[in-house]
């Protein structure tokens, strides 16, 4: 094999692009810290069983796996959330709530999620707010996400779509769907495949009114009117409660004058088996896929023995870097001018170099050959 080749799904960042990437990371981390999120650094290698518990078997299977000396299965972390959930439920079980954590960590996944999301190493910028329930914490993480997008200059070229896991959960209960059927219908919803859904309803003999509600929800995206239209076709209490919750959050967003940064797309709901409340997805112009996702997963820490509410999100640092680097907007100012230092001999060259370095940190020097 040739030494020049690097594995697929991996890449280099060099010079200006690496600088841009670090700048985005720094901006994001400073915003997290501005909202009182503490940085957490979790192990890059952990037990595979952790991720099976935290992410579910299907997702965890994407991890790079290998065995420990004692035969236990290890894995390069495919996500950070599982590790945070464990630490919250175990080591920090008695720490005062809420816990606010943020991170900027590479995660590794074997499988291509799609051809557009080709990376196998991806740095996630993320945060988790654990132990706090209700609309306050939901709105908080939405605003943090919106602030990050604004800070990196993408306020007008991004959108955060909102939905709620309870809407479809209520309808799936009403339709009497088992676990396998739920997975199947989630796949169809995720690709908005109306024909596929209609076939699914016929095959499973789903009641007409539930089927019609689901097909209507598929069409609903926009602003507040979406909630009103959805309400008219839904009768079960779980879905209605979810719509109320969404309404409450939307009202706050609206009153803050941020409604152009968000939209309601009730059917934009991948990961329904994982989320329990509000769900959101982040899109930016120039990337054909979701560059971020988040929501409420109150079942998360219960997998590690403590039941408590949690909400959070991740943004892909690599996707942001790639898009912004194509925009070429000079977000990162390289203000320092470069001075060439050359003396009569090595001694004087480096004496001069050290003197300049000591005087002015901002000035860049270069020692020519």
């Amino acid at each position: 094999m040739s030494v020049s080749k690097i594995p697929s799904g991996m890449r280099y960042y060099i010079g200006p692009e690496a600088q841009l990437r670090r700048w985005i990371e720094d901006q994001t981390m400073s915003i997290f810290q501005g909202w009182s999120y503490e940085e957490i650094i979790t192990p890059s290698v952990d037990y595979y069983s952790l991720f099976e518990q935290g992410m579910g078997q299907a997702e965890a299977r994407t991890a790079f796996r290998f065995t420990d000396n004692d035969g236990h299965l290890l894995s390069l972390r495919p996500d950070v959330t599982s590790s945070i959930a464990r630490v919250a439920a175990t080591m920090l079980a008695r720490a005062p709530r809420p816990l606010r954590f943020c991170y900027a960590s590479p995660v590794f996944r074997q499988q291509l999620q799609s051809r557009a999301e080709w990376r196998r190493e991806n740095t996630q910028l993320g945060c988790e707010l654990i132990g706090s329930n209700g609309s306050t914490s939901d709105v908080e993480v939405l605003l943090v996400a919106a602030e990050i997008l604004s800070r990196v200059g993408l306020a007008d070229e991004s959108i955060i779509t909102l939905s709620h896991a309870g809407i479809f959960d209520g309808l799936f209960n009403e339709a009497g769907l088992d676990q396998d059927s739920r997975l199947e219908i989630q796949g169809l919803l995720n690709s908005m495949d109306e024909t596929g859904l209609k076939n699914f309803f016929t095959q499973r003999q789903i009641a007409t009114d539930v089927a019609e509600s689901i097909l209507l929800l598929l069409q609903l995206s926009g602003r507040e009117e979406v909630l009103i239209q959805a309400r008219q076709s839904i009768s079960n209490s779980r879905s209605l409660a979810a719509l109320d919750a969404l309404q409450k959050r939307w009202t706050v967003i609206h009153s803050l004058g941020l409604e152009n940064r968000f939209s309601l797309d009730l059917a934009d709901v991948s990961g329904l088996q994982y989320y329990t409340g509000m769900i959101f997805k982040i899109y930016i112009a120039g990337a054909g896929y979701r560059v971020g996702r988040g929501g409420r997963y109150d079942g998360l820490t219960s997998k590690f023995g403590v039941e408590e509410p949690a909400v959070g999100f991740v943004l892909s640092l690599d996707a942001l870097t790639e898009v912004l680097s194509r925009h070429n907007r000079n977000l990162v100012m390289d203000s320092s001018e470069c001075t060439s230092v050359k003396g009569a001999d090595l001694k004087t060259t480096f004496r001069e170099a050290l003197a300049r370095r000591a005087r002015q940190d901002q000035i860049r020097i270069e020692v020519p050959e």
């Binding site: 799609s114 051809r115 070229e157 908005m192 109306e194 995206s221 899109y283 979701r290």
Partner: protein
């Protein structure tokens, strides 16, 4: 501007006709030329003509906002795109065809299958528990059993004529396929107004056609 990817070949004419009825008209001169990217008369749309298998690639990356392509191709490429409309055009079947009608029942320890649809073929035989060796071809698949390259093929058929003319018959139908309107995930959200108005006008044309 909205970029629309159209699969060259069987679907091309039907898709263009459908778009014209939906109010998106391509200049005849543009169509007659051999250019692979042309704009409509209003300048709001750009069309790119690419191989069917490439349509989901352009749409998934968001280079094209939407496209016209068969369901078989979407499943084969496992593209992560939205599939909001079934256009009912270019109706066809993905089938297993062979010279011998009972090729699947001969308990061959290993069946050699020639196909362009390697992913769908391997899924199909995997589900049946039949071990297969998939031979990937890019065209004239019907030749493979005739020349002894494969025991059977997996391919699309509309009328079955090409199969028959090459001495093959359908031994199993894997799935039905029709042309679909596919949309990029991010375009659907970020160009919401333009995308939903295009989707709705195509939907209206389909409704009129079905009446």
């Amino acid at each position: 501007m909205i970029t629309v990817a159209i699969a060259k070949g069987r679907m091309q004419e039907d898709a263009i006709a459908l778009l014209a009825k939906a109010g998106v008209e391509l200049h005849p001169a543009a169509l007659a030329s051999r250019r692979l990217a042309v704009e409509d008369s209003s300048g709001n749309y750009r069309f790119i003509f690419v191989k069917p298998m490439d349509v989901p690639v352009y749409v998934e990356h968001g280079i094209a906002d939407c496209g016209f392509v068969g369901r078989d191709v979407i499943l084969e490429t496992q593209a992560d795109v939205l599939i909001p409309l079934d256009l009912g055009i270019a109706r066809c079947q993905l089938v297993v065809a062979a010279i011998e009608k009972d090729v699947l029942n001969r308990s061959l320890g290993m069946l050699r299958i020639a196909t362009k649809y390697t992913h769908l073929a391997s899924l199909h035989f995997g589900a049946l528990g039949i071990p297969v060796e998939i031979i990937s071809l890019s065209g004239s698949v019907e030749l493979a059993p005739v020349l002894g390259l494969a025991d059977a093929i997996v391919d699309l058929t509309e009328t079955g004529r090409t199969l028959k003319e090459n001495g093959l018959s359908v031994v199993d139908v894997i799935s039905e396929s029709t042309g679909r309107f596919v949309v990029n995930r991010a375009s659907y959200q970020l160009k919401a107004e333009a995308m939903s108005s295009l989707t709705e006008s195509i939907e209206r044309v389909l409704e009129v056609a079905s009446k």
